[in-house]
Symmetry: C2
DNA sequence: CAGAATCCAACGGGATACTG
DNA sequence: CAGTATCCCGTTGGATTCTG
């Protein structure tokens, strides 16, 4: 009985935690952006090329939101014309496990679908 | 050079894999539903109560989509009135790592926000 | 109990054109 | 290059009501 209560409560906390994350990383693209920047620093145009299908509008909006949440950092370089570099923050890099687990499952899933 | 190419290519595949998953688990609620059902079988009304904030419409829509993708199973029981039980499939349970990693990060994040 | 149906607002997200 | 602005549509998602 006690165990059931604690399991139920723990489950509720889990749901809440997951909901927090899904809220922070909402939309189609944020996780991909994070994963990309976990690999290496990238510029706006690099990301646009690397992340197939994303539009400029969504990219800049998502970058802004991720920056606000301190998951990524925006560096403007003194070049002509301006170059802007995005990189993962230390805090953002704590998401690396998360992105790699997602990617791993995605690989397996794709294989399964292909095998069909 | 070879290494850079392979890293870039690997990164592209990762992005694609992540995009697949984000497509499959799109919306605010699906991951929470999966996580819930990883704990135990649940009925429609249970899920509605457990997952705070979800509406009936979204719950049934998401359950349907998850069922189509064979991540969960719907069992209708011969009772009066009808009872319906949802449970995770074997395939769906391969998402357990994913949900727990997300939840873990969510817990830490919440702590950080609280502290911050 | 387990939904389906309807209505409606808000947001996501693509295309295109424009700016410094 | 690195965005911003505008237009526009489809989807998401909540509230409420209805059904077997």
């Amino acid at each position: 009985m006690e165990k059931e209560i604690s399991q139920t409560k723990e489950c509720a906390n889990t749901i809440m935690a997951i909901h927090d994350v899904m809220d922070l990383l909402n939309g189609k693209w944020k996780v991909s952006i994070i994963a990309c920047l976990c690999c290496k620093k990238m510029r706006y145009s690099d990301l646009l090329r690397e992340i197939k299908g994303i539009s400029g509008k969504m990219l800049s909006r998502d970058l802004k939101e991720l920056e606000i949440n301190q998951l990524i950092k925006r560096n403007v370089l003194n070049t002509q014309p301006v170059t802007v570099e995005y990189e993962i923050t230390e805090y953002g890099s704590t998401l690396k496990d998360l992105t790699s687990v997602i990617a791993d499952w995605g690989f397996k899933h794709r294989k399964k679908i292909m095998a069909g």
